[in-house]
């Protein structure tokens, strides 16, 4: 694996046994699962016992960079954490742009696998070949900013730090990890997995370098990709200026956003810079300044909880310090407010908090109560689905979660067609991260045909996918969108709109071939992505998932997606079409044995067949 874009090793740390093992990266593993979320999914599947409690020592925490991670391939900074989610009980993952995974690769490791649990708080100090499990008693109880500052003081700023705050320590089921004080691997509660292992932080310095197989070709591709970004200047500049708000300008106060924005910032090797650093010039929070990763999304999901953007930015600072997923936090705050407005919760339940109005201080109090599991916050800290069960009294009618993962943002299909349908079919559930296409607004059929070509939809499928008056069949297109969006995090790339438009399947194959020396086609890579997606589905099936788990919460339906109404009746038809396009058993919604064998997942097929899940 020398000079192949890979670091060439997997680092395994067992916190129960206090052992550290370095395993050479297996060539077949890299070839079949590419990297990033692909290799991490395979390692998770193989290491974990089905049925374990996600907050027990049996859970397995895998973090790793992609096949192109840490190079000049534009946007190759994104890295994933994969584990069994405490929120859903199924596979969970979350990604961010400033992960220690990048430094792990420079230190010589493509993936870090953490098993077991420490008796007392620890942190991992990784300095190239030197790996130590260190006491973290002095860090426990500190917020993520304090923890990072203390580790920088202790080790030096050459170390990158990914850590948890009090939310992770207190096993809040939507706690996240925070890297470099600002970058959250937000979703599905993986901060709580670190907390359950008493793993406060991972601090990494890497002084080795990454070499690619064909440097000349690789750099020519870098130039080509950069030119493609330059050719999309209008789109790039919109994202650089407004970030995610670029798509929501009519409904936000763009002027106020820009007034509070100190400037843009980018993840490693990104020519877009959709992130913003905050610099509040006046008012109650004058002087507040920090790197606010993707602040536009939070302004959108904050909804009517805050009237002022400086209040939102102050709240986001708080959530970063706590180490709590902003999306889940806002979703559960809205859930609690709904229950309050409908009389299911009263001031007697909320320790006197009036959830009927808009009061930033009450939202902050709620966040604190959840983070420290104080009183009523202890129930909400379990996540929307479990909280609804505990509260009872009809609260389940307001539970907008899919497999336990809050999906409030699917409401009304405002995020787009495949984008919204994928909330259900994504093995992780909730949010559009695995199904963003171009269907967030109506387009002509020709646009979808061109899109299909760019993402490598087989020719024989194009007419099925680009069907009907709107030019798309939502469930069938979702299947192919999911595959390319699985490949993106396998390569370690970003999945935001200006990036996915540049990275067509041809560029993926060219870059991978130049980096690794293993010459592949786009079709080869998409088969690997399909393999990974199927394995993620099989993870859930092994945990007992059925077709009944692939449903929208009742209160989110009906909605209009791709010009058609999706309701309780048509949902079944849409799922049938989706499973059919995946080559799965339409009745059970599970991959067939034949499908798994065709993807080279023989041992998985055997295991699931023996368990009676597939035939």
């Amino acid at each position: 694996m020398k000079d192949s874009g890979y670091a060439g090793q997997i680092l395994e740390v067992d916190l129960s046994q206090k052992t550290v093992e370095k395993i050479p990266l297996d060539e077949a593993l890299a070839r079949d699962f590419i990297g990033g979320i692909g290799i991490s999914t395979k390692l998770l599947y193989d290491h974990i016992e089905p049925g374990i409690d996600p907050l027990s020592p049996g859970n397995v925490f895998v973090i790793g960079s992609g096949s192109l991670g840490g190079t000049l391939a534009p946007t190759s900074a994104r890295a994933e954490i994969v584990a069994k989610s405490p929120l859903s009980g199924f596979i969970g993952w979350a990604n961010n742009g400033y992960s220690v995974a990048n430094l792990l690769k420079y230190a010589g490791y493509d993936q870090l696998v953490v098993t077991g649990a420490a008796e007392n708080p620890v942190y991992l100090k990784i300095d190239d070949d030197d790996v130590e499990i260190r006491d973290a008693g002095h860090l426990w109880g500190k917020d993520s900013w304090e923890t990072t500052d203390m580790l920088w003081e202790e080790l030096g700023k050459d170390y990158w730090v990914t850590c948890i705050g009090p939310a992770g320590e207190n096993l809040i089921r939507f706690a996240c990890t925070i890297s470099q004080k600002h970058s959250a691997a937000a979703r599905t509660g993986l901060g709580a997995v670190m907390g359950s292992k008493k793993l406060k932080a991972i601090a990494v310095r890497g002084t080795k370098g990454i070499k690619v197989a064909d440097k000349k070709r690789f750099l020519a591709l870098v130039e080509e990709a950069i030119n493609r970004f330059k050719a999309r200047e209008k789109l790039v500049m919109a994202w650089r200026t407004y970030g995610f708000l670029a798509g929501f300008l009519p409904v936000v106060d763009a002027e106020e956003f820009l007034r509070l924005k100190g400037g843009y910032y980018a993840c490693l090797s990104c020519p877009v810079a959709c992130n913003a650093w905050v610099n509040i010039p006046d008012g109650r929070y004058a002087g507040l300044s920090y790197l606010a990763s993707a602040p536009g999304t939070k302004i959108i999901v904050a909804g009517d909880n805050f009237k002022r953007y400086d209040e939102i930015f102050k709240f986001l600072e708080l959530l970063n310090r706590y180490g709590m997923d902003a999306f889940s936090t806002f979703a559960i705050v809205d859930f609690a407010k709904d229950l309050f407005k409908n009389g299911i919760l009263t001031k007697g339940d909320t320790e006197g908090l009036d959830l009927g109005g808009v009061d930033p201080e009450i939202i902050k109090t709620l966040a604190r109560k959840m983070t420290y599991r104080e009183g009523f916050g202890d129930i909400l800290a379990e996540g929307m689905h479990k909280a609804a069960e505990k509260i009872g009294k009809g609260a389940d009618a307001y539970d907008a979660s899919i497999r336990g993962v809050d999906a409030t943002n699917a409401k009304g299909g405002m995020l787009g067609a495949t984008e919204t349908f994928g909330f259900v079919t994504n093995p992780r559930a909730g949010m559009m991260e695995r199904s963003t296409s171009i269907s967030f607004r109506p387009r002509k059929r020709e646009s979808y045909v061109r899109y299909c070509e760019a993402i490598g939809v087989p020719e024989e499928a194009v007419d099925r996918v680009c069907d009907g008056p709107e030019g798309l069949n939502v469930p069938r297109l979702t299947r192919y969108t999911e595959d390319i969006l699985t490949l993106i995090p396998m390569q370690g790339l970003c999945r935001r709109a200006p990036v996915t438009q540049v990275w067509d399947i041809g560029l993926h194959a060219d870059f991978y071939s130049a980096a690794t020396g293993n010459v592949v086609t786009g079709k080869d890579l998409l088969k690997c992505a399909e393999r990974v997606f199927n394995l993620q589905k099989c993870f859930n099936i092994r945990e007992g998932a059925t077709r009944m788990d692939d449903q929208f919460p009742k209160q989110l339906l009906p909605m209009t997606l791709g010009g058609k109404e999706l309701n309780q009746d048509t949902m079944d038809e849409w799922l049938n079409e989706y499973y059919d396009e995946r080559g799965w058993n339409v009745e059970t919604g599970r991959p067939t044995k034949q499908k798994l064998l065709s993807l080279g997942l023989e041992s998985v097929a055997r295991e699931l067949e023996e368990m009676g899940f597939i035939k």
Binding site: D158, T207, G262, G263, C267
Partner: protein, 72 residues
């Protein structure tokens, strides 16, 4: 002699300069091995510094898409 001029207000912190520098002088990708570095300073933005080993070759400036490094 021409020198690299830094326009810090345009810097995005993307580290592309560091990756080009490390590739050019160390033969591999790693921002920590570069002769140019950036750091975020709250309230101010990105601060760009050079190590003593920098010979002002300007390869960093050639590849900065943000216009934060020019060779004058």
């Amino acid at each position: 002699m021409p020198e690299i001029k830094v326009h810090e207000e345009k810097c995005s912190g993307c580290g592309t300069c560091e990756l080009w520098c490390s590739l050019t002088f160390q033969g591999s990708f790693n921002p920590l091995k570069a002769y140019i570095h950036h750091e975020f300073i709250p309230g101010k933005g990105f601060k760009v510094t050079f190590t003593e080993d920098c010979n002002q070759c300007a390869i960093c400036g050639d590849h900065c898409v943000y216009g934060a490094l020019t060779f004058e």
